[in-house]
């Protein structure tokens, strides 16, 4: 039974990493109505910036964490203002392709600036484990879970209880009406992109100590975050976070208890995606999403 609980905790930790990125995806989808394929690479790029701060400039970890978040915020705002907004008249396909272009630019750019070799990345949490009720939990896992939960709570409170959050929700739902009411819609959407960039930076910095840092390390995380967002319902923040934890735990248990997969962990991703496709056949809006009446 101990092994079971340990796997649950490990699954929650990786679920937390997916959850922060999935939350970023949902934020963008609600604000702009598109999928940001570059979300993972934005997190990757932020993590490289953090790496430079840590190892080149010798900034202590939490200082680095804060500075990286600020830089990421402005990076996200810049992406929105420079790329997404000018293209928004061109339709969704143009925007999606633009985010794909951004994906390859950031991916190649990181290799260009920092070289594509694999690096290790510091973890802010101690290496040893603690015992809770006979179950050994590493500080690494516990810290990752707590950080992800903190992110979710902060984002929730921001949108629920602050004036800016309310204006942002209004801008996303009824841009025209909001503009008439004097809300600066463009600014609000830009802030949304900035927030999403911050979330993906957190996801990257939590994932890097486990996965090691190279320009492609967020690709798998992004795929799982997509899966989590779709599983929970692409428009539902709660759903995406729940979907991410379900996915993380599910994969962790799958890898432990299904012998066929235990020896071949590379099968976890295809199996997870196949299950997801099946779920979508029966619940196209995801587990927590509301079915929207489509025109066709």
């Amino acid at each position: 039974m101990t092994e079971f609980w340990e796997q649950i905790v490990a699954g929650l930790a990786s679920g937390g990493i997916y959850a922060t990125l999935a939350l970023a995806l949902v934020l963008i989808h609600r604000a702009t109505g598109v999928i940001n394929f570059a979300q993972g690479e934005m997190g990757m790029f932020s993590t490289y910036i953090a790496w430079s701060l840590l190892y080149t400039y010798g900034v202590p970890y939490w200082g680095t964490f804060a500075i990286t978040l600020v830089i990421s915020f402005f990076g996200g705002v810049l992406v929105y203002l420079a790329l997404i907004r000018p293209l928004s008249r061109g339709g969704d396909i143009a925007i999606v392709i633009a985010t794909i272009a951004l994906l390859v630019i950031l991916n190649g750019g990181a290799g260009w600036i920092w070289s594509p070799e694999v690096r290790s990345f510091e973890s802010p949490f101690p290496i040893d484990r603690i015992e809770i009720g006979g179950v050994g939990i590493s500080w690494q896992d516990l810290g990752t879970i707590l950080v992800s939960i903190a992110c979710v709570i902060v984002v929730f409170c921001f949108f629920r209880f602050t004036r800016v959050g309310l204006m942002m929700r209004a801008s996303a739902q009824r841009p025209g009406t909001s503009r008439l009411l004097g809300i600066r819609v463009t600014l609000m959407l830009a802030i949304g992109w900035g927030l999403a960039a911050m979330l993906s930076a957190v996801s990257g910095m939590m994932a890097a100590p486990i996965l090691t840092l190279d320009p492609n390390f967020m690709l798998i995380v992004l795929t799982y975050a997509f899966a989590a967002a779709v599983l929970g319902g692409i428009d539902s923040p709660v759903g995406a976070v729940a979907g991410a934890y379900i996915l993380g735990v599910g994969i962790s248990l799958l890898g432990t208890y299904w012998d066929y997969v235990t020896g071949a962990p590379e099968l976890e991703l295809p199996i997870a995606l196949a299950v997801l496709l099946l779920i979508l056949l029966f619940r196209p809006a995801g587990l927590f999403g509301r079915a929207v009446v489509r025109r066709v």
Binding site: L87, I93, V104, A274
Partner: protein, 332 residues
Amino acid sequence: MTAGVRITPSLVARLVVLAGAIVFFALAPLFMSNFRQSELVLVGIYFIAIIGLNIVTGYSGQISLGHGAFMGIGAYTTAILVTKYDVGQYWTIPLAGLIAGIVGFLFGFPALRLTGVYLALATFGLAVAFISLAQSTRFEGYTGGGGGLALGVPTTPYYLTWSIALGMFVAAWLLLRGRLGRRLRAVRDAPVAAVSSGINLALVKAIAFGLAALYAGVAGSLLVIRTGFVNYLTFPVLLSILLLTGAALGGFGSLGGVLFGALFIQYAPGLSATLPHVPKESAPSVMYGVILLIVLFLMPGGAAELVRRLLGLLKRLTGPRYSRRTGERVVS
């Protein structure tokens, strides 16, 4: 298709360009080293793959990010048939196309029930999952696992590739200007009207997706025959993005631009590698991304639109001129 082909000046012009291209590609090997020919084979392979991608993205308005995975399915079909079942490698090309096409059609059905963004996501997932499946130790008996499969020496199937490319180009042209093309465009531009007119939306989209996969499968099969080797690294996610770049650059919804897109994705990395101070691995992807953005911002219709605009400009410059003030014809 029974209506026949109407002969218009623009059709004649297109046929002349097509004939010119055929003559060029038929004679080119006579003046080329084997290395250059081998490069052109790759251009032909990209050409075939991008035609397929154009059917699904340009004509049915869906973004596919998994085109590389369908190339991979075609490639592995050929590699497995040749190494495990001793089938002659050229005979495997139609089979590879067929199997990739069937997989594409079957994948398309559930995926296309989802709308736009979801298809892009599903195909992206497919591209990532394909790599995991191809290197999995569980299927090592068939796929060779991470080590891949070797067919033998690399070859240069120049005329074969370009004959297939020509055949598939003409086939796509005929298909898309006929009933299927009309239905696809209807589904893309006005789904509600299309459904009201009795078009089975899911079926038409799945057929387009299957066709696209068939083209990709043939391209993948040719690729493995050319290289003589295949493993999971042959079809990275970047390949799918690359093909999308080629299609966007050529112009979505235009078959003529495809050749330009194919030439570009073959020769652009070589050009970018000549830039100073740029590491070889990362330069091409940065450049593809930047070019993709330039296309999106400056000429959303790709090369095809550029040519159209230039022709329009030419017509205005050489044709009769009209006074802006009186609207009368100006005699100079």
